[in-house]
Every structure is written in structure tokens, then in C-alpha cells.
Amino acid sequence: MGKTMIEKIIRRAAGREVKVGERVWCRMDLSTARDFGGANCVLQFEEVTDKKGKVWDPDKVAFTFDLQAPSHSEKVSTNQKIIREFAKKQGIKKVFDVDWGIGQHVLLENGLVKPGDVILGTDSHMNLLGAVGAFATGVGNTDIVASWFEGTNWFRVPETMKITVNGKFAKGVCMRDLLTHIVGTLGADGMFFLSTEFYGDTIERSSLSERITLCSMVTEMSGKIGLIMPNGKVLDWLVERAGDEVLDRVKTLAADKDAVYCQELEFNVDNLEPMTSCPDAPDNVKKVREVAGEHVDQVHIGSCSNGRFEDISAAFEVLKKANSRVAPGMRAIITPATREVMLQCAEAGYIQKFLEAGVIFTNPTCALCTAEHYGALPSGDVGMSTTNRNFIGKVGKGSHTYLASPMTAMATAIRGKITDPRDILG
Amino acid sequence: MKITGKVWKYGDDVNTDVIFPGKYTYTVSDRAEMGKYALEDLDPEFTRNAQAGDIIVGGKNWGCGSSREQAVTCLKVRGIGAIIAKGFARIYYRNALNEGLPIVVSPEAVDALEKGQEVTIDFDKSEIVTAKGTFKFPPYPDFVKGLIEDGGLIPHVKKSLGL
């Protein structure tokens, strides 16, 4: 009987054949923590090992700082310091301090992620690394600490769902809209504990940032991982960053033709429209048209879901076409995912243009997604953002948030009310 | 008016950041709550144990730094009776009068006082009574007297506007 991608990944990590439903101990390729959860990991590790413990392999442990970068509270500053000192003591060199950006993206850009890798991190959106065929998952501090002993941890081999997407996005419509549509269709637990593989010509044509968007939102359907086989330009990019081993990995990663799926779904995007997750849940999905005209106080473009250069470029196209500024009274904030993205934006001349139009550009970080950082909302305010969660109160008590694509967000910023980007793009 | 209280004594150039840390300036908006952080970065013992009626004794340039009025409010709501110092920073001086917190300049009294001692300030006679002797301080200018009599700037303004 054939194997799915996740079965093959776990087989490699376990060093033996595995079956769906089985609990399996796996070797970790990378065990990471952020300035959120990271200090908890360090303190717990030091406590249970009486400060004598050594992580199994300092080269396979990494820290990223993106919760508050730079920090604006003493507690986070202290937590960051705890991590820096631990890394020094343990000889962990992969510390991506406050100048780098969002963790998973920084790991990717630095060539630390290969297809087939098993990666842990204190971030529920670690699984966006499935965009390059890696099995990465968010865990709590105890799981991280456990993995630091011998470089292993356990997983239940999940069932796999297969989603095939065909067709071409119309102007003003993008991967984020598909994703929002899928979340609306399947619901908040629509991928409960599952691995999901994405196929079809829409996926094969898609860019890395589109794949990241798609895989990042698997978490919002309670999925374990969303996986896409690297191909074409994405594969070239990965090889450039992570080396030739990527090519060997890809050869052994593809699901078998007769792999068994627990569920198979098909989507066609030809007629898809801009979609939005309405307050206060990601699966409360409507067409942008249905809520067009609703007042919005603040627009935010960024986050691990939609903070890459292509996302910001898409927003820029809307601004350019509108040939306008953000609406009076509107706050519009763009937060690039990483320093590399920020430099790309600078080079392309986008930052200047956005600033001229009244948009604020912040340094790369998780921004309002973690609250306690840029863009908290006061009670009664309505926000629109390209982030991945709009749970009630997440970015401020008594506030509400719509989630949408960078194009819809920019169109809304320009008009001051929810706007279908096609109204501007024509 | 005459007040008597126990002394908390500090040195020169005590700034507003140690009287009321900047990190609380926008997260704490309730006046009563401000008292909880008074002198937090200068003297945690004060923060914990200061009692209503206590008197603060400082060196020169008390309250230098920021214009934050919370550095006065936090002491006022703790019931601090007065501050005696060798000198006050300008904005602090104004803020204290505006809040109706009595402040007195007397380098001699400051030198004569130690932590924990009792001190009496007689505003009518403009003198400070300590174990080491009695010291005169310059009376407030008339304008300032008016402010204090009205209980601070806001009541003073209300009165002058006939509200």
C-alpha cells in the first residue's frame, strides 16, 4: 500500500516503516523557540537538568525573536536576555535577534529548512514550512525541552487529506482568498489532526509566498500540517538557500500514486471572488462584496501568513492603480515579514510610495498578531488585517477584525471602508 | 496650617523616572493606582510602607526630568504631607503646586533631618521644626498662595471662571 508525504517524512525521521495511527519517536532536524515560549523552555530545561544539561546538538537548535522585536516590556527584554545567555552557554549559534524578523521566514531564508525535515517551534504557525515540504509543528515549551535531551519527540502518524486546486485566479483574487474560502467551507476544525497535501495546477504554478499563505492557515482548521511538493522556481530557490541535499530529499518525498487519503476535496478558483473572515472567527467567511461598505478604522498588512514581498507588491499594485492616498482618519500599517523583505521593498521603491500615500512601515516582526506590539485596537474599533486570527479581543478588548488578502486590505485602506479590490483594479 | 510626619530622606537630583517610571505613564491611568508605584525605582521600602502623613525630604533639584505630573500625583494619592528639599526642578515645582501638594525649600532643614525622624511644618509661621532646631523658609509668593488655598490649579481656575 502506498505512502503519503507525511508517512514518508516520519519514516525517515523514525528510521523505520510506520503506519497511520501509530505513535512514533522521531529524530528532530531542528528544534526552535522564539522570544515567546523560549524563556519558558530555557528555564524549564535548566530546572529539570539542574543547570547541567547540554542540548543534544547545538547546531540543531535555533532561537528567533519576533514576539516583541525590539521589546517594549521589561519582561520580554528579560526573556530575550535569558535566551541569549543560554545560547551562549550551550554554544548555540543560530540566534536570530531582534533585527531579523518572523521566525519561520528567517529560518527559511537562511537555508535551515529542507523538504522532509522534522522541525519543532513555539509557534502554532510553524507548519507554514509545509510550503517547502517540511513537517514543522508548533508545540509548547515541554515538547521543546523534551526534544533537547536526545533530539527526539513523538508524533502520531496522521491521516492525510488531499486537496486539489485547479484554475486561474481572476484579477483581484489570490491565494489568500482561496484559503479563506477553504476555512469557511471546512470550519475551525475541518482538518482536525490531519496532514493535508495540496495538488493541482493552481498549486504547481504558485510562488513560495502563496504556498506559505496556504500552509500557514492549516492551523486555523486545527490541522497538523499542510504539505506541498517543492517544484519549479520554489525548488530552485530552496536549493540556492539550503543546498543540493534538497534535491535528494525531494526524490524520496513524493506521495505514492496509491497512497491512501481519508478525504479528497477539489476546488476550482476560476470563479473565486475576494473573500474575508468576518468578526470574530476565521471560519466566519463571507464574500468581500457582501460586507463591502462596512467602516474600518485600521488596516494591517503583514504577519507570517501574508507579509512577504509578493504580498506587499500585490498591495502596492492596488495603491498604484487607485493613484490615491489612504482615506482620511484611516491608519494603515505594513509590517514586512523579514529584513530581507524590507530590503526588497526598499529596493523596489515601494516604501517611499507607501509613505507618500500615508501608510506606516514598521520593522519586521509579528506586529499586532501577538498584541502587545504594533497595532493594538481600542474598544469599538474595527480592523482589517492579513493576519491569521480574528478571535474576539485578540488585538484589544472590545475590538473586531476582518481577515482578508493584501489586495482587499489595501483597497479598504484607500476607501476607508471594506472594498472589493476589483472595484479599484477594474 | 501645620503638619507633622515621619521623614523619608533622599539625595540630590531625584528624577521623575525613579519617582514614577515612564513605563506606567500610559498603562496606569487611575490616580489611586499611581500611588502603588511611587518611588518604585528609588526606594522599594517606601513603595511598600509609606503612610499617609509621611514627609519626603530631598536634596537639590528634586523632580528633575520629565514633565509627567504622575510623579506628583503618585505621592499625593499616597497621602504624603509635604516635600522638603534643597531645591525643586522647575516643572515639578509647578506640578506640585498645581496638584496642591505642599513643597518647601529649606537646605538647612534637609541637612538637619534623618530618615524616620519626626518633623513639623508650620505654614502659617513659615517654619520647620526638627529635633536639631527650627528653620525658617521663605513664604510662598501671593500668586502661589492663592493656588494652594484653592486646593490646586484646577479648582483655582474653576473659581476664577466662576464655575
Partner: protein, 418 residues
């Protein structure tokens, strides 16, 4: 007998000839408030007046924590937006790409003008003296009362005359001069006084340098600090002035001063203010090699394009050894820096460059220190706990010294890398 600048400006406003020591009641022109406009509004309402005296005299600029990091900050901002709407406040700088640090905006947007009496609910309001304004910081209650009555009392201050001649040597800038003055006369050296900067070297200085000097007047206790409104100032303000009620005024040659100081820029060397007071002067030689954990280039004191250029010169093509936070003073400074390629220089060097605002200067936002950490900063205060934690240390220095130190991870002499 001649009059000082303060006597002239306050006298004009009071409609009589005044001298130091007298109390006057005057109507101020622009009244600046930042994020604290909301609590001031709370106090204002208690007075029982419905309308502020002149909405066009109020200027609100959000800068202390923007975009809002917490819902408390967000609520605060929201209240201000509501006041702006209700009272018809015309000059409001929200969280948009027009804003920045309040004092920078006041100067670059044409509010800071010669001869105007200006107050701000922030101690560094004295910065506007660089443009010949009489400007000073006041507390929240006082600002509320001013909104209600349009009047404020001042004791006409004694004045201190600081005459400056000579030229800076390489690696030395206005920040070093003002730190030296603070070290000499101490934190209360100019208590209640009006500081006047005179002399050929002041005329030579850029407006940015004059702003650095006046900005730190408060750190030596001054009520205000002021430079002469010379042609440089007039050329700058004429196209942008927000009112035509200004008048270039300056002290008479025979004015009477409480104190006079003289400095030769050639004698100034790179220096720092050691923890935990601004007057804790040390020449760079005394502290060279002190390890640091963070470098901060920002604040209303030293984050203008001129400051960024000086730092970028040192950082170009190199990499910083510690986390280095760069916060331009305003979005227009940011944009200019971008045009000149400085943003790329900072990013390539490994700096974090954040959106303009006050940042970590007063422990509110981007770049708080952990216990035991040391920061070298271009800001204006190194008080214990100022940047977040009371077990941390802050050294104040010039942009060049901060940049040089960032490269080495320890306090360094900029002359050695220039």
C-alpha cells in the same frame, strides 16, 4: 538697561516692560500635547468648560507608543481622536506617515517660530528655542487649565548666557558640547533660568545641532533654551510657518545675566554621560571599552537626518556587534534617509530600523532593557530605570559615538573609526 530674550518675549506678551523675578500672565500660542492629550482632556472636563479656548492653538501629535502596542495605549489614542473631532482640532498628527516624534514635527511643520510663547505637556518642549521661540514644558493639569483659559502664569526667569566660539574637531558634535555643559554646571545648574546660546559657533551650527542643544536645556534645569533667530532660521520657517504672528526677537547686547559661560568648540572632545545622571560627564577615554548590549540611535535629541548621516558614515559597509535600534525622528526624516540610501546602510549593518516615534527612550516601546544590560543612547536621559529596568545602565552620547560603539560592542571613540 538692556533686556534678555525672556524679558522681551514675556514683556511683549504681557503688554508691559518686565524684568526677571516678576510674575506675568500671558496667552501662549501653540500648545503641544502628545499621547497625554487624553488624560489632559479628562482633567479639562473636570473644570466644567465645554470648549477649548482656541482649537487652532492646540497641536496633538501621537508619538509615545505608536502604533499602539496594547489595548490601553489604543484606548488612549482613540480618546484623543474623539477629542479632535469634538473640538475641531485642526492640527492632529495620528498614526500615519505624516507623523513622528512630537518635537521634531513641531519644528519641521512650522509650529516652532521666533518670538512665540509655546508650551507643551512634555519636558523637551524647550527644543523650539532653536527657532527663537520661548517654549517650555508643563504638566497635565496646567495644560488642561491653559486649554480652558488661554492663560498661563510665568515668573520671568533670570537668564544664563552661554557664548560659544571655535570649530568642532573631527568626531565631535553638538551632543558632546551639551553633555560637557551639563557636566560642568550640573543637573540644576540652570534651574528656572532661560538659557541663551550666543556666539559665532552657534551661527555656524545647523538647525539640527541647535535643536540638540536646546532640547537638553531641561537636563540642566532650564525653563527654556534659545538660539538667535538668524537668517538660517528665517529661511527655514518662512515657507512653512503655521501662523504669521511670529516676530524675530533677541536679547539686547547690554542685557543683564545671572550667569555667563564661555566655550570653545575646539576644546570639546567625544564624551558620555555615565549612569544614572545626565551630568555624570566622562570623556570617551575614561569609559572606552565598557561592554554594551544595545545601541540606540533615536529620540527628539539626535535622530534627524544630520544625525543619521553621521552614524551611517561610520556604519557603512560594516556590521554591528550588538543589537542596534535606529528610530528616525519623523517620517520625513525616514524618507530623506531612504532617498540618501541610509536605510539600506543601517539594514545591511544589521540594525533594526523601526517606525518613527519615541521608541524605548522612556521605557514604553521598542527596545526595553533587561536587568544587567547596558545601552549607549543618543537620547537625553540616563536615569535609573528610564529605559525599562532599574538594574540596567544607560550611557548618553553623540550619534557618532553610539555608531562607533555599536560596531565594537563596547563604548568606543568615534575618532578611531573615522
Amino acid at each position: 538697561m538692556g533686556k534678555t530674550f525672556a524679558e522681551k518675549v514675556l514683556g511683549k506678551a504681557a503688554g508691559e516692560s518686565v524684568s526677571a523675578g516678576q510674575v506675568v500672565i500671558v496667552e501662549p500660542h501653540f500648545c503641544m500635547s502628545h499621547d497625554n492629550a487624553a488624560p489632559i482632556w479628562g482633567t479639562f472636563k473636570k473644570i466644567g468648560v465645554d470648549k477649548v479656548w482656541k482649537p487652532d492653538h492646540l497641536v496633538f501629535i501621537l508619538d509615545h507608543a505608536i502604533p499602539a502596542p496594547t489595548d490601553k495605549h489604543a484606548e488612549n489614542h482613540k480618546q484623543i481622536r474623539e477629542v479632535v473631532k469634538e473640538q475641531g482640532i485642526r492640527y492632529f498628527y495620528d498614526v500615519t506617515s505624516k507623523g513622528g516624534v512630537c518635537h521634531q514635527i513641531m519644528c519641521e511643520e512650522g509650529f516652532a517660530l521666533p518670538g512665540l510663547i509655546m508650551v507643551g505637556s512634555d519636558s523637551h518642549t524647550c527644543t523650539y528655542g532653536a527657532f527663537g521661540a520661548f517654549s517650555t514644558g508643563i504638566g497635565r493639569s496646567e495644560m488642561a487649565a491653559t486649554w480652558a483659559t488661554g492663560q498661563i502664569w510665568f515668573r520671568v526667569p533670570e537668564s544664563m548666557k552661554i557664548t560659544v566660539k571655535g570649530k568642532f574637531k573631527k568626531g565631535v558634535s553638538a551632543k558632546d558640547l551639551i553633555l560637557k555643559i551639563a557636566g560642568d554646571i550640573k543637573a540644576d545648574g540652570a534651574d528656572y533660568m532661560s538659557i541663551e546660546f550666543h556666539g559665532p559657533a552657534i551661527e555656524e551650527m545647523s538647525l539640527a545641532e541647535r535643536m540638540t542643544l536646546c532640547n537638553m536645556g531641561i537636563e540642566i534645569g532650564a525653563k527654556n533654551a534659545v538660539c538667535p533667530p538668524d537668517q538660517k532660521v528665517l529661511d527655514f520657517i518662512k515657507p512653512i510657518a503655521k501662523t504669521d504672528e511670529w516676530e524675530a526677537m533677541w536679547a539686547d547686547d547690554d542685557a543683564v545675566y545671572a550667569q555667563e559661560l564661555n566655550y570653545d568648540l575646539g576644546d570639546i572632545e567625544p564624551c558620555v554621560a555615565k549612569p544614572h545622571t545626565v551630568d555624570n560627564y566622562a570623556s570617551i577615554g575614561e569609559v572606552k571599552g565598557t561592554p554594551i548590549h544595545q545601541a540606540f540611535l533615536g529620540s527628539c535629541t539626535n535622530a534627524r537626518i544630520e544625525d543619521l548621516r553621521l552614524a551611517a558614515d561610520i556604519l557603512k559597509g560594516k556590521e554591528v556587534a550588538v543589537r542596534t535600534i535606529v528610530i528616525p525622528a519623523s517620517w520625513s526624516v525616514f524618507r530623506q534617509a531612504m532617498k540618501e540610501g541610509l536605510i539600506d546602510v543601517f539594514l545591511d549593518a544589521g540594525c533594526v530600523i523601526t517606525n518613527p516615534g519615541c521608541g524605548p527612550c522612556m521605557g514604553n516601546h521598542e527596545g526595553i532593557l533587561a536587568p544587567g544590560e547596558t545601552c549607549i543612547s543618543t537620547a537625553n536621559r540616563n536615569f535609573k530605570g528610564r529605559m525599562g529596568n532599574k538594574e540596567s545602565n544607560i550611557y548618553l552620547a553623540s550619534p557618532m559615538t553610539v555608531a562607533a560603539s555599536a560596531l565594537k560592542g563596547e563604548i568606543s571613540d568615534p575618532r578611531e573609526v573615522l
